[in-house]
Amino acid sequence: MVFQTIRFALKNAFRKKLVAALSITGIAIGIALMVALSSASAGFDNILGETVAATVGDVEITEYNTMITLSQLPTNISDIIKTIESSDKILAVCAEVVVSNFVQFADNVTIQVGMAPPGSGMSVMALGARGVNLDEDALFEGLTTKLTEGRIFENDFEIIIADYILEAGSEVFEFGKSFDLMINYTYTVPIKIVGVFDTGEDMTRVLEPSFIMSVNTSLQINSMTLPFEQTGYNVAKVRFDSESVEETKSYVEELEALEPKLDVTSLGAEIEGMGDIMANFQTFQTILTVIVIVAGGMAIVVAQLMGVSERMKEFAIMKATGWKNSSIFLDIILESITIGILGALVGFGLGAGLIFIVQLGAGQTFVTITWQIVLKVLAYGLGLGLAGGLIPGIRAANIKPMEVLRAT
């Protein structure tokens, strides 16, 4: 029964092709923006969620109230950490040395590595270097376990480097090559690249250290560049067998109670804190959604009101031939829903296309089109159709046929 009405409504929805096309375009633009934002939001939510899940039990420890580059943890920090009451929950501990000035002093570093030239503050942050204990790093399934080429460092001043450094096509950092590390512009240390490790495909891989070496090498380099001789570790990583960020926070409190006093950071808690940014983003998204609904609804209302005004005689004849008010109302609503859903689908296509292009450019998947977004788009199309067709539908259904026909 409804099938015939739907067919009839479909035919009528496109009688004014230009008006219908403009309505659909208006809705589509709004929906496309919404899809793009929703997908980005869902994508970032996913990344955040995955990262929190991956780091839920991880904490990072540095010397109390000291910058990480100047932090000096005792050489027996691993043993100190294991004295906490919840030590049975510790899965792994790994103490590391942060080689803060490594890249700044690498001779002939060019922007070809994809980062700033030597001397820039950026290079320290972006191209980090670390000294690690192989057995401890293995407990974390760290980067030293992910060699794709070459071998692990065995001698002093041998390093392994991140694959993305090679991919950047640097002339300085090549597998098997040696380069001179410049210390205070007067002294150089020959560094040999003996291996390459995998950092995955994720965008966040650039946050991984670019260079990894033995603790001994890193301490020697730091001692040459810092105004004091470094003997301890800069940072210690601890992995707890934890189910939640809240649980990890309780272990953080235990670590903070240790002597010497330590700065302890829960990575999961830090990342979870970024949820506030997402909340703001979602507020923006909600505002945009309201604008889309109002603007889209108005587009349909205007288009349908125009259509209804022009088709008054038709509705009159439909009523004269026995159509009930409800049947005419349904016809108009179905026409509006057709426009709404089509606009939503076109918008979804545009939004998805936009995302596809952006991801192609970025070479990275950071947005996600979830089935919830698809459902949301369809619901908006339906909602817009219903809302937009309401007033025109009531108007068409309530016409007095003879008044309309008499007026001709």
Binding site: M1, F3, T5, K313, A320, T321, M402, L405
Partner: protein
């Protein structure tokens, strides 16, 4: 000269079972109580026998459209009663009136009022759309189109049809629900004489072959001549002059 319908007494109407339409002291007053008040129908009582073809005539403003609207279940009376096929249509709700329009009445208008996006066949089926269209309905519509000489034009859109053909489609549309009465408001008003005659001939043939009552509103005396009876209205009252 066509016989005139006269203003009937209540007893006369009550005693006849052969009237498809009976009106008892029907009034239609617009803008009641206001300075612009107009009495379109003033105490009109008459009956129309089943199976007749009658004409309603009268000058502009005489009340013929008001009468047609009330009898066609598209407007309410201000006072009085109208019985259509045994049902007091002046006491029905809008929903019940639409049921009567759907099941018992066929309308033909001066302006053909076809849906431009639909073919001739689909326009004929228009009254059935809300309830769904069966294969039998399509066959019936094709047969009706054949009756009005348009079977080979069934797939044509209104813009591809001549005025006479459009009016035939509206006749077919009026017949699709097998009505007991057809109201035709100036059905030949937009047609040339020859085509108008053809339309009237079709209506007469339907009237004679199927027994459907046909009520034609027309200014045209040539149309009156082709009907059985004439209801002449002047100033909202039945006139014999």
């Amino acid at each position: 000269m066509v016989d005139r319908i006269h203003n009937s007494e209540k007893e006369e109407l009550d005693n006849s079972n052969n009237f498809i339409i009976k009106t008892y002291g029907l009034y239609k007053i617009y803008n009641e109580g206001e300075p612009s008040m107009v009495t379109a129908l003033n105490n009109v009582s008459f009956g129309i026998e089943t199976g007749k073809m009658i004409a309603i005539a009268g000058p502009s403003g005489s009340g013929k459209s008001s009468l047609l609207n009330i009898l066609g279940c598209m407007d309410s009376a201000s006072a009085g009663k109208a019985i259509l096929d045994g049902v007091d249509i002046t006491s029905l709700s809008e929903r019940e009136l639409s049921e009567i329009r759907k099941n018992k009445i066929g309308f033909i208008f001066q302006e053909f009022l076809l849906i431009p996006t639909l073919s001739a066949l689909e326009n004929v089926l228009l009254p059935l759309i809300p309830d769904g269209i069966s294969k039998a309905d399509r066959e019936k519509a094709m047969n009706i189109l054949e009756q009005v000489g348009l079977r080979d034009r069934a797939d044509h859109k209104p813009k591809e049809l001549s005025g006479g053909e459009k009016q035939r489609v509206t006749i077919a549309r009026a017949l699709i629900n097998s009505p007991t009465i057809i109201f035709a408001d100036e059905p030949t008003g937009n047609l040339d004489t020859k085509t108008g005659d053809e339309i009237l001939a079709i209506l007469r043939e339907l009237n004679q072959n199927t027994g459907v009552t046909v009520v034609v509103v027309s200014h045209d005396p040539l149309v009156w001549e082709k009907t059985d009876l004439l209801l002449h209205l002047i100033d909202g009252q039945i006139s014999y002059a």
